[in-house]
Symmetry: C2
Subunit: 357 residues, 2 copies
């Protein structure tokens, strides 16, 4: 890897590590963070690793008013042999730059960002948790910092990477989730920001998630914003169906987030000579398949859970119980294979895994 000049200021204090067996998601942060600033005319500059600490911004900073911001999410895993592994991190940096383009944020140097990420993890390597199923969650993000209330692209930005050791998504092994099909609220629409990883999409989703929580469903399934008919994605996962032996996932249509896990699952299925249809699929088609006994499996894909089998879909008070509410065979096989590759337990025929030295 190229070596960019990244100043490193080590923290004089090391925080106490939490109990790796009791980690939650995204509540504990490591000892250091990466920062790089942007100024119009000067470009990205001052790449540095510093102690994890609060940041100070003018109350008029544009991030607080107009939401010009993008982020990414990926994980580092500890292999059994002690190596620290990243899974396709270059895909996240590419997506960050695609998000930047949609949000009018100046592009970052993907190689530098990747290098920064690796150096940061190397500095905080003791924070990669060692318990089965745990990992180090990595959150790169960019915020607009210019103190100006005009609605326009900011003249200055801050790029940061923070790290958080996270627990296993499935405390008692992989198990199916219940998903609520959302009929009222809309997450994104073609021409909007749905395919970018940007704050506003998540802000828009909170109200629907609140209803799901009340009804004890774990996430919502979004339908398209135009006809409220075609399936888009789940809260923070893409979705796949197995219907009458066809594997189907909604095509990337401009309003769906192009997930790295989604892409990897498609590659894996093709590698196994299992055809995948990336196409439009309506909720009616799923319901018809269910009624005909042809809805064999459904699962979500995303960095957090890797594969989430879906045991139940609720749509307009009609329940679809998928595969008897149990984890399907394909879901299980995909989960085992992908997590196996990610943790270095299985052979990696795609060259997806990168070691941090």
């Amino acid at each position: 890897m190229t070596n960019f000049s990244i100043d490193t200021h080590l923290s004089p204090i090391k925080k106490e590590k939490p109990n790796w067996g009791e980690l939650e998601f995204g509540k504990v942060f490591t000892d250091h963070m990466f920062i790089m600033d942007y100024k119009e005319g000067k470009g990205w500059h001052d790449a540095r690793i510093v102690p994890y600490q609060p940041i100070t911004l003018d109350p008029a900073a544009m991030i607080f008013h107009y939401g010009q911001t993008v982020f990414e999410g990926l994980k580092a895993y500890l292999a059994k042999d002690g190596r620290i592994l990243l899974f396709r991190p270059e895909k996240n940096m590419q997506r960050l730059n695609r998000s930047n383009d949609r949000l009018c944020i100046p592009p970052i140097d993907e190689d530098l960002a990747l290098d920064a990420l690796k150096q940061l993890i190397a500095v905080d390597k003791e924070w990669v948790p060692t318990v089965e199923g745990t990992s180090l969650y990595i959150r790169p993000f960019i915020i607009a910092t210019e103190p100006y209330l005009g609605v326009s692209a900011s003249a200055s930005y801050r790029f940061m990477i923070i790290l958080s050791p996270v627990g296993s998504y499935y405390k008692e092994g992989i198990h199916p989730v219940k998903i609520l099909v959302e009929n009222e609220y809309v997450r994104a629409v073609s021409g909007g920001t749905g395919e970018a990883k940007t704050a506003g999409n998540y802000a828009a989703s909170l109200k629907a998630q609140e209803t799901a929580d009340q009804k004890e469903y774990s996430q919502v399934l979004w339908l398209d914003g135009v006809e409220k008919k075609y399936i888009e994605e789940v809260g923070s996962m893409n979705i796949f169906f197995k219907i009458n032996d066809e594997i189907i996932t909604p095509a990337l249509n401009g309003s769906i987030l192009p997930g790295v896990t989604r892409d990897s699952i498609i590659a894996l299925l093709k590698y196994w000579n299992i055809p995948v249809s990336e196409r439009r699929i309506s909720i009616d088609e799923v319901m018809d398949a269910y009624r005909d006994g042809q809805l064999q499996e459904a699962f979500g894909t995303g960095t957090a859970a890797v594969i989430s089998p879906i045991g139940e879909l609720l749509w307009n008070n009609e329940k679809m119980i998928v595969n008897g509410g149990k984890t399907g065979e394909l879901s299980k096989k995909l989960y085992d294979t992908l997590t196996g590759i990610q943790k270095g337990d299985l052979e990696d025929p795609f060259g997806w895994v990168t070691e941090i030295k």
Copy 2:
């Protein structure tokens, strides 16, 4: 007005005031700001006026990641007799709470917020600029502050009010703007966050605005996100047309921001016995009217410019020159009346104006 207990810490230094004749929008801030914090279980607390200063947040604060935030915008005017006047500020506080509801942010006490706003302006009263056409822009906003990377409503928030003296929108008197009808990007869709004043809507608009800037159009006109056919609103204004003597403005449909200026214009027109149609209006209808010589006037309404006559609309490379590119009679009359009421020059039959003591 009720007197809430708001701690006031005056700034030891007073910043130099800018030249009132050379003010831009939203670049200079006053000596003080208002802050109030929220914590789950404790509610809103610690209302205080403090010196204008940077704020410090954890890099994991949810505002930086999931955009859970709302804001408002209104103005204080200096009357000829020295009184400082606010225009319908209670409408802004009501809208702030409607936005809060959509964004899952706990409601604020509207009376307290109004009182805080008045006390803050009273403290910084020397910052209300005195030159014709200038005013003090007021920006209340709320941000999610919990350091947590889970996608959910934050457990803590900060409500702030900052003040910025702003110049006249029209340096050489009211004059028409050129507007680009947007065909590719979408701002909001029914079921989304369009009727809330929240960051993500503005982030989504930057890309289209960039194109407008390049083509030398001042703002974009958004069409609906479903059929890309019906008129919604302009970048930061609602829109009105006068077609064949009918005054038309798009009905509030869930994706349009319900403007305070829009509401005031409708009230004013009704007071003058001029009927207003709040209804769906397609861009084709406007184009047909233009071709038939029936498109008499078009104007935007919003806090920044109050009334912006529209001199030209560009749609699919077809130009509609409205009223010969000049300010229409009705636009001018509405502008003079509304700004007259706001500045205390004209009688206020609606009780819209509130004095700050």
